[in-house]
């Protein structure tokens, strides 16, 4: 896959279709790839990499590059979940679609090194892909782990392997999976008592260190100045000072992206404290689906966001009081 991608990138650069390529460059180990912008064929030949650990959603970098130079022609490689974010950004006029050449990259789920480490494999010197296994060389000896066991948590409940936007495809396009079970955990929480839910979320959110990684990485968080950074908002706080601050930050963060969140799972991926933040976003998605009809942000660039539309016979807020466990 990597070689095909490299070849196409070099071709598109040389024939002048694009002037910048957004991809990944290698890290120190075999799993720490960094998103990168390439401008020459030489750089791509030398440094372009794509493998199971390139999980970062690069759609937001398109926006960043277009801010620097609105007319630059950009080539971007998008995985299925990234294409949803890309569509959503296009719908919100944050990205000008015309100047982007999208190569959709088929995806069978990305690996997460934390899962490998959680399986007790550490001191990693190198990771090789071998069929449905990874062979992990470590200072403590070689280990093997099934790819299924090393798959990122978010990929286990992948909603769709279908590429929603592309100019061409490398690899194989997949299907939307309506039976992915991504709301199972939300439903499980809903079925708990209020006290249990409170305990669960205190346990998770109290670890928050307010590093803002979840906000900054989010492809839906595109405000010029975040309300939490605005000294005039009255809530600009850097402190993780008190349970209220943590609750407030995460409620508002999730609320501000409600109905725009494509459920790409980046927030949970980047959290250094591994707080399952996607469960907040998914709660909103689930509620929207149940109350206002199925809606998937990023499906296309045309349909109307459920929070900027309404029907005359929407449910009253008291519906919250009537269902589920107290």
């Amino acid at each position: 896959m990597q070689e095909v991608m490299k070849k196409r990138a070099v071709e598109l650069l040389s024939d002048g279709t694009v002037s910048k390529v957004i991809g990944w460059m290698p890290g120190e180990f075999s799993y720490d790839m960094t998103p990168a912008v390439f401008t020459t064929a030489g750089e791509i030949e030398e440094n372009f990499i794509y493998n199971d650990f390139c999980g970062a959603n690069v759609s937001k970098y398109v926006m960043k590059e277009q801010k620097k130079d609105a007319d630059a022609k950009i080539l971007v490689f998008l995985k299925p979940c990234d294409t949803y974010s890309f569509n959503q950004l296009t719908a919100e006029h944050k990205i000008s679609r015309d100047n982007v050449y999208v190569i959709g990259v088929g995806c069978d789920g990305m690996a997460d090194v934390d899962k490998i480490k959680a399986a007790g494999i550490d001191g990693i010197l190198g990771i090789e892909s071998d069929g449905d296994k990874f062979i992990v060389k470590t200072v403590y000896g070689d280990e093997t782990i099934a790819k299924a066991d090393a798959m990122a948590e978010r990929c286990l409940s992948c909603k769709s392997k279908k590429l929603m936007v592309y100019d061409e495809i490398i690899g194989e396009d997949g299907e939307v999976n309506t039976d992915c079970g991504r709301f199972d955990m939300v439903a499980k929480l809903e079925s708990m008592t209020a006290d249990e839910r409170f305990e669960f979320w205190r346990g998770e959110l109290s670890r928050c260190i307010r590093c803002n990684a979840c906000r900054n990485v989010c492809p839906a968080c595109t405000c010029e100045q975040c309300v939490f950074d605005n000294p005039n908002s009255g809530i600009a706080q850097k402190a993780a000072s008190d349970s209220f601050e943590e609750n407030m930050f995460h409620i508002i963060r999730a609320f501000h992206v409600a109905a725009r969140c494509t459920d790409c799972g980046e927030c949970s991926r980047v959290c250094p404290e591994r707080i399952p933040l996607h469960l907040l976003n998914r709660k909103f998605i689930k509620d929207i689906n149940e109350l206002y009809g199925d809606y998937q942000a990023g499906d296309d660039t045309e349909s109307k966001n459920p929070l900027t539309s309404f029907t005359f016979d929407d449910a009253e807020p008291s519906v919250v009081h009537e269902r589920g466990n107290e």
């Binding site: 939300v186 929480l189 809903e190 209020a194 006290d195 249990e196 839910r197 409170f198 305990e199 669960f200 979320w201 205190r202 309300v227 009255g234 809530i235 000072s241 008190d242 349970s243 209220f244 601050e245 609750n247 407030m248 409620i251 508002i252 999730a254 609320f255 409600a258 907040l280 709660k283 909103f284 509620d287 929207i288 109350l291 206002y292 459920p306 929070l307 900027t308 309404f310 029907t311 005359f312 929407d314 449910a315 009253e316 807020p317 008291s318 519906v319 919250v320 009081h321 589920g324 107290e326």
Partner: protein, 145 residues
């Protein structure tokens, strides 16, 4: 949750300028009683109530928050309350999801002519919050006196 007999809750009521705020006025001129611990904040429309307002009310010591707006179809700005209805529903649902007592928040449609309904709603809400006890799950400890 400990229920204190002498507990007097602090209630914040966001009232739409065009209906429930006038409704509150009407209930006053009609000498209808509603508790003095309901603090009314006038907003131009129920749709103006940012979720942050609700959270900050709790932060600053509110034990319950109620939003009052025009009946669906009667919005001064035609559609504001329809948007408010969706947003508030989602926010209330999220608060519930986080384990915050679901009865601490409420949305009611009260028109300018419904002075009696306003007083009745407030009395009922205050009773409900009194029963729930003080807000402990969404309070800012720094603000506790």
């Amino acid at each position: 949750m400990q229920v204190n007999e002498t507990f007097t809750p602090t209630i914040v009521a966001f009232c739409c300028n065009w209906c429930s705020y006038a409704g509150a006025d009407l209930s006053g001129t009609n000498r209808l009683q509603y508790p003095a611990n309901v603090k009314i904040i006038r907003v131009p429309c129920s749709c103006r109530v940012n979720p942050m307002f609700i959270l900050r009310a709790f932060q600053r010591g509110a034990d319950g928050v109620i939003i009052c707006g025009c009946h669906p179809g009667d919005c001064h700005y035609t559609t504001g309350n329809y948007y408010a209805r969706r947003r508030t529903t989602l926010l209330f649902s999220m608060l519930d999801y986080l384990g915050i007592e679901r009865n601490r928040t409420r949305l009611e449609w009260v028109s300018a002519a419904e002075g009696a309904k306003f007083a009745e709603t407030m009395n009922d809400f205050v009773a409900q919050i009194t029963e729930l006890g003080p807000n402990r799950r969404l309070e800012d400890l720094r603000c506790r006196k």
